[in-house]
Symmetry: C2
Subunit: 426 residues, 2 copies
């Protein structure tokens, strides 16, 4: 048994104790972690300095270098996150369904932790704290695997979290940091112990994890989000939504990457759209029909493309059917929005587009756990099973069925001596 | 593009139409299928005859030959299943959550079909009808892949279902039968089009599918279910529950395969237990401590073992901690039951055992969708994500978030010009 495997097995053992921790113990642990991080900030910053220095020396790409930074601002963010988690409902132990099967036989469906989360992240050491605290609140064990570029920061953060949480009453082994020279591939093989993989990092990183894991993965690789301007759109609203969806924050998954425009309004509307987008320095790509109206647009090389930058693809469509078909064929199932004053068209769009978030007359940028009022965000899922769209703490729990009886035998029901009542209670 | 792939792509296209079908159209289609099956029963039986004859000639194992039979009795079963499905609520379009994000911005979480189900089954042609009808009711397309031993029966059943359902208004291509000489492996690669695989067949068959699919799989490979006799058990109840859990129907996944007995009561209790089980012709296997009390038990070769027969493993445990640990280590996460008069012990068992169904004082045989009052059973899932335990129609749907706004921009909320209200409506 490798070291990796032993630790995952220990995390699994600890998960049974995690599953029955009282809410107060978990909340106290979150507060103790926040205190310990503050008390040890010099050690954290010193370790982070070393990582930053190494990153510079090894010419780590600039975006990764930026994400590596863990400073006072990041510390304040993660400690405030830890405190706000204590204010959220415990997602464990909720009765989701209760049915009387017979006078003396009651079934309940009760939420419970998933077990062991395998968390794989690139660069950002604050992601370690954030996701470990979400695991803690939801009663899950976690196996962390960080990138080698953040090895010093991660080790210090992990040691602080482990010490503070175990002192607060959490079972030893509930959290473990896997730092070996081995590839994450080793973690992806531990399906006997790890129940769910949550990757945090660049698109290509997440894509790699999704393609190589036999363990279920929660997350999204990319967000090719669409804004569709229907022929009956309020044009002024459409322009504002296009600017907000595309430019309010370009580097995020719910930013719009493709704008679809109905052919019947394209001739008038596209020049206005081009004007407001170019004012924001957005580079325009377009289909042939777009090019016929806006001659200086660049070509579109691939419709399933996430720019994450001040660039957008424009496409003229014949109507709602082509728009929906284009999205279902070329999108990533993340977030799409229709702009229209026509309620029927909006409903058709919202029902027929196969994405986790389908909006009417608002910006694609709204798809986010905090904006949805979930309190904490685990991430955004583009898979269809288990959790879809922005995922709150409830995405980190599953459920089990409990039945309490009085010696009830199936033979009695099979023979007809007794019959089920099936009274819905909750 | 292979033929396999083209059909899966067509099923995906049809799935967008399936997703918005009115309940009445789906229910009418179910009734038309039932009528068509009855009207064409001679053709079905004739095709089945050929398969049965071939099976005999090729010496297909007897259990598979038995499952291959499609007679009047099976026909009555599937048509009554079709009719009862029309009486169940449509699982699509249910509002699961509704939040006012702002005065003019409302978010709803609405159930919707998963998309395309890949259904792989061995032998039983009635499984084709049953699972296709569940897919239909839940608004999903389905790609069927049957075993070569049932090729004639499957083709006739498929043609009847397709014709009747398309005549009733379902989109062409919503159901497709993939019969090539190729391995099911080809279907497992179609993750671009197929959203969920549901395998139906023997344990080794399902195990193979689970290990080779990059598409999520819903189902269970095996059921190593436990009955735990706690020291404070009502002995008479314990004996009856042991007989029912083990022998009421031995060939099913929720039959008990291992009985754990507390050491403090083992000396008295094991001989009584042996007596009632041997009366039912159950062959006993046991651990060393069991053998010390019941000298003629056979050894246990592997604790994670599903007999599916009149055989059982007996183990003496030191107490509840060892019992829970044994189950979590050697079980399959299916169904376990504790027999005790001690409420605290029962709660500890139900909270700490990591299985989909954890019972107190009743038979393991109760874990079943129909007994749980779900109306229809898709299957039993031993995975922890999406659906766990007996799965009703709701296991075949996912959800999407819809937001209806009035031109709302994220920029206004980011700048503080507007603030979220986050009023919980449903």
């Amino acid at each position: 048994m490798t070291d990796f495997e032993t630790r995952a097995r220990d995390a699994k053992k600890a998960s049974y104790a995690m599953a029955v921790l009282p809410t107060e113990v978990k909340d106290q642990a979150l507060l103790k972690i926040a205190d310990a991080l503050n008390a040890n900030k010099d050690a954290i910053f010193a370790a982070n300095e070393i990582d930053l220095k190494n990153a510079k020396e090894t010419n780590l790409p600039m975006p990764l270098q930026k994400r590596l930074l863990f400073d006072d601002h990041k510390l304040a963010d993660v400690t405030s996150g830890l405190k706000s988690l204590t204010k959220l409902d415990d997602p464990v132990g909720k009765v989701l369904l209760k049915t009387e099967l017979d006078d003396d036989l009651v079934m309940t469906r009760v939420s419970c932790p998933i077990g062991v989360l395998g968390i794989i992240f690139e660069s950002r050491p604050d992601a370690l704290v954030q996701i470990a605290s979400l695991a803690l609140k939801s009663g899950n064990s976690c196996c962390l695997k960080g990138g080698s570029e953040a090895v010093n920061s991660n080790r210090v953060l992990f040691e602080i979290i482990e010490k503070a949480s175990v002192e607060a009453g959490l079972p030893k082994g509930w959290i473990t940091l896997m730092e070996t020279r081995n590839d994450v591939a080793e973690m992806l093989l531990l399906d006997k112990y790890i129940d769910l993989i949550i990757p945090r990092g660049s698109n290509s990183f997440v894509q790699y994890i999704m393609q190589h894991s036999s363990i279920p993965v929660m997350g999204h690789a990319d967000g090719v989000c669409h804004l569709y301007i229907h022929e009956k759109a309020d044009r002024d609203m459409a322009l504002k939504l296009a600017v907000d969806s595309k430019t309010q924050y370009v580097a995020v998954c719910n930013a719009c990457e493709t704008i679809l425009v109905d052919e019947s309004i394209a001739k008038d509307f596209l020049p206005q759209l081009a004007e407001v987008l170019r004012e924001k320095n957005v580079v325009l790509h377009g289909c042939d029909k777009t090019k016929a109206i806006l001659p200086d647009v660049l070509p579109v090389e691939e419709w399933h493309h996430e720019y994450l930058d001040y660039e957008v693809s424009l496409k003229v469509v014949s109507g709602i059917d082509e728009a929906i078909d284009h999205i279902n064929t070329n999108g990533s199932g993340h977030t799409e929005s229709i702009v229209t004053t026509d309620k029927e068209a909006a409903e058709a769009f919202q029902n027929r587009v196969d994405s986790g978030n389908v909006f009417w007359n608002c910006s694609t940028r709204f798809s986010d756990g905090l904006r949805y009022g979930f309190g904490a965000e685990v991430g955004i899922s583009t898979s269809k099973l288990h959790a879809r769209g922005p995922v709150g703490l409830e995405g980190l729990v599953t459920y089990k069925y409990k039945i309490c009886g009085n010696g009830n035998l199936v033979a009695d029901y099979a023979s007809g001596n007794r019959t089920f009542t099936h009274k819905h209670i909750i």
